[in-house]
């Protein structure tokens, strides 16, 4: 017997950052636990979702992976609304992508909900030899801008899951403390049970159905 009234949330997440920082690979790694070998530039916006369990609560993460290229800015900006969390990604081997963070941050803070929870991800941790951005300066940037910070590797999968989960956990804490009100529209949080049936399916089946998933 399965009780369907179990409290369960749906969070809208964004993955943002400059082109070539590995946003789509992060998403792919998180959703399918593999590295996408032949990744290309994202056209417009891509979509993925995964149900996770955070602190005993079921949360469905609806993740919008945006194109980093400037030409798509106009299209991707319309996806910011209603996002509860965002992964702001830069490439630790490219200072250029690090320098662009301020712009992305402004976009996120103005276009999405002001309460959006953002985690800064320094991706391509596996390429430490080519590092152009130190852990220290990035964590200082994160401190100054009230961001959480992690260095990740979409290739090895290191810290990828943690990034998404940390973000989700922070949002849940904010809900518990009353800082965030899920009932308020535009918070990027919804209740629902539309996907609970998938929960009962074996994990593999759920990922296979990703394409048809109508969450």
């Amino acid at each position: 017997m399965v009780a369907l009234i179990a409290k369960y949330f749906l969070f809208k997440f964004l993955v943002i950052g400059s082109a070539g920082t590995g946003k789509s690979c992060l998403l792919h790694q998180f959703i399918e636990n593999k590295f996408k070998q032949d990744s290309n530039h994202t056209i417009g916006v891509e979509f993925g979702s995964r149900v996770v369990n955070v602190g005993g609560k079921t949360v469905k993460l609806q993740i919008w992976d945006t194109a980093g290229q400037e030409r798509f800015r106009s299209v991707t900006r319309s996806y910011y609304r209603g996002a509860a969390g965002a992964l702001l990604v830069y490439d630790i081997t490219s200072r250029e992508t690090y320098n662009a963070l301020t712009n992305w941050l402004t976009d996120a803070r103005t276009l999405a909900s002001p309460n959006i929870v953002i985690i800064l991800c320094g991706n391509k941790k596996d390429l430490d030899a080519d590092r152009e951005v130190t852990f220290l300066e990035a964590s200082r940037f994160a401190q100054e801008n009230e961001l959480m910070f992690l260095e990740t590797s979409a290739l090895t999968g290191e810290n990828v899951e943690e990034g998404f989960l940390k973000c989700a956990r922070t949002i849940l804490n904010k809900i518990d403390s009353g800082e965030l009100d899920p009932e308020r529209m535009g918070s990027g949080i919804q209740y629902g049970d539309a996907s609970l049936r998938q929960l009962r399916q074996p994990r593999g089946a759920a990922t296979q159905n990703k394409q048809q998933c109508n969450c």
Partner: protein, 942 residues
Amino acid sequence: MERAMEQLNVQLNRLTRSLRRARTVELPEDNETAVYTLMPMVMADQHRSVSELLLNSKFDVNYAFGRVKRSLLHIAANCGSVECLVLLLKRGANPNYQDISGCTPLHLAARNGQKKCMGKLLEYNADVNICNNEGLTAIHWLAVNGRTELLHDLVQHVSNVDVEDAMGQTALHVACQNGHKTTVLCLLDSGADINRPNVSGATPLYFACSHGQRDTAQILLSRGAKYLADKNGVTPLDLCVQGGYGETCEILIQHHGRLFQTLVQMTQNEDIKESMLRQVLEHVSQQSDNHYQRILTSLAEVATTNGHKLLSLSSSFEAQMKSLLRIVRIFCHVFRLGPSSPNNGNDMGYNGNKTPRSQVFKRFRKAELSSGSPKCEARADCPRYKPPDPACSRPVQWMLAGTDAPLELLWHSLDEWLVLISTELDRTQKNPSSSSSSSEIASLLLKQRDSEHSKLPSVLDQAMGVEVEVYPDGEDVISMTANRLSAVIQAFYMCCSCQMPQGMTSPRFIEFVCKHDEVLKCFVSRNPKIIFNHFHFLLECPELMSRFMHIIKGQPFKDRSEWFYEHLLAGQPDTDMVHRPVNENDILLIHRDSIFRSSCEMVSKSTNEKLKQGIAVRFHGEEGMGQGVVREWFDILSNEIINPDYALFTQSADGTTFQPNSNSSVNPDHLNYFRFAGQILGLALYHRQLVNIYFTRSFYKHILGIPVNYQDVSSIDPEYAKNLQWILDNDISDLGLELTFSVETDVFGAMEEVPLKPGGTGILVTQDNKAEYVQLVTELRMTRAIQPQINAFLQGFHTFIPPSLIQLFDEYELELLLSGMPEIDVQDWCRNTEYTSGYDPQDPVIQWFWVVVNSLTQEERVLLLQFVTGSSRVPHGGFAFLMGGSGLQKFTIAAVPYTSNLLPTSSTCINMLKLPEYPSQEVLRDRLLVALHCGSYGYTMA
């Protein structure tokens, strides 16, 4: 002797008693016969007789008989024969005796609601807890039938009110399923488990919902029933939606507010029947303004998410597209309903409870800000459709400002996408050779597609690569996104239209199409199927249709006619039902000897709707009915319509085609007859019946609303057409024709000067304006002379065929649709062909030509015939009787010197094909087909 007397006396006595009672007075010896003697008495509760008969007999009261092996006690309990029941019990009948299905007398009494019998059985210690073979107990039976009073008595004797049957169902389950409110209450009061699942996990609430028992669900929920799914994950809400039980859904939502979202989310589930879900949402939305507005907002949000997903290239196009369109359809349906009726809670808005409205409004403002779109602001003050009734204008106004606000986000994305594509297009066009940025998307897409197949290992930075190979054109960005964007455009159109009165196109949408004209045209020309699949709006608004007309006309005839019928029959119920039962009153009864008049009468008596649904014809005095008769009717009737006796239609110069007679007014009722003729033609087209009439090219053009040209004149006056041609072909400056924009016509014997345009008598025809003159004079001859007839005909025709649909075709195709594909005998054609300017029958080019003609499809042969003769028909009697502009004129092939890529041409008035001397059969075939498919419509000056 005495003994004998005594015996006789006894027998006599018995006989008298038996005769007086009209029955036997002594039970037979064997139980089987005895029981059948007693049974009817028990059924009728004739307890005295039963008692008398049983008195001294050895009958076994527990004797089981019949197929189901019941005792007499069963019979008594079943029939409510309480006296007999007591009698039998007193004589030792077993109150717990079970029949073949395991039923005790108590079961039967409970099933039939025999209160007294139940009481007596209980007195005699009948066991209330016995289950029959299906596991049912007496309380199950009472619950099924809602016998609350009896249940109330019985339940005190029951050890376990939650006793389960074989399926794990308790009395509460069955009571809920059948919606017996008081029974449910009684069971609950007696301690029944409100959340008890049966073997498949279904709870009482589940049962109540599966049958839409609203009040029962209400009771259960208010008594704290949990909302539980069955073992397959089917929830009570699922069941309500599947059954379309709006009221029960409403109750569920009242108690579990979160189900509201779940209900809205269900719009994405394609397994759920749309009509049922719509019905439920319709009901819920009508509960209050607040509900209405919440449903629309939520639907809009779901649609927006879905639309965005559709725009994500990795999502499944089919699934997302269907899902989006379904949600938007439901959204529009609910929107159109409007908020609940005026007396129902609409005071909420006035009574200070402004939260819902102001909330939505705030959200709207926010969307405006975040999207930063100037369009939103423009919308706020642009004049919008206001319903005529001021009473309902308020809700509609706030709906417009409010609930579609979430969708604005999607429309905004759509807009951004189209702008993006248009910049891509621009760049490709301006800079086709170079590249690096112009076709980056295209190359990316191509690469992406390739990579799906290749499994080349790549290292990280390559995968993230900034340097991308360059491809010469940007076509693929469009072909990959066009379908997705088009589906969103369709959704946009639906949302725009549902705010408008029926049949009007929203100005906002027209503005949208104009803005993205270039991109939309590009979509359509790359993949014309888009029109068929998503751009239905083209059909509904001619002003937009005209923008795409040339692209549509370029589609194969077959596709267009399929599309035509698909849309023509859309909205008709059960179009696929072949054997529709015909109402006797709907049969058109036609007299053969006055077919025209009686048909006219019958058709005008029937309604258009009925005629659309199907035609049944019977000829007076004949038995036959069915499709064959209908076909015959159309055939004969169409022949009658052109019967010269009615003077409705006149023959063309070559005698094979017809057009309205300008003098038809000799028949005073002529316009009614033209309307009738239009109706018949429309009806024939509607039901795919062919008619036996061929009209002149110009009349087909009139039906299609295409302007006529001077060559059409040749069908009624070939000499005059030649003269017009001559004027056009030669410089008339120095000829001193002194023509003005007027003609002299003979109106009943008096010559009259008719100006071709205002002040036309004073305007000279010059070399510069001669084309206009020819056009005007053509229109005078071909159109103005028969304008009233054409209008009447079209009035009839359009009752069945909307003008927007028929314009998909050109005049040649219309002829094929109306009159069908003529059979062409290639042997006969070949025999009656002449050759000139260098060709002879033995020429290899001619040999190839006939080989190619033989290999053509029937449709292509017709095109060839039309190409050369201007008509798709072979005259009666075959090709030998082919007519030209002036008398018999055989099909002729003339040689033309070949230059590369030269196409064949034709002179239709002399039936001549000008065939270049092609170097090979392949080239000939190729060039001929190109000419047929491109050149069969429209003339060029040859």
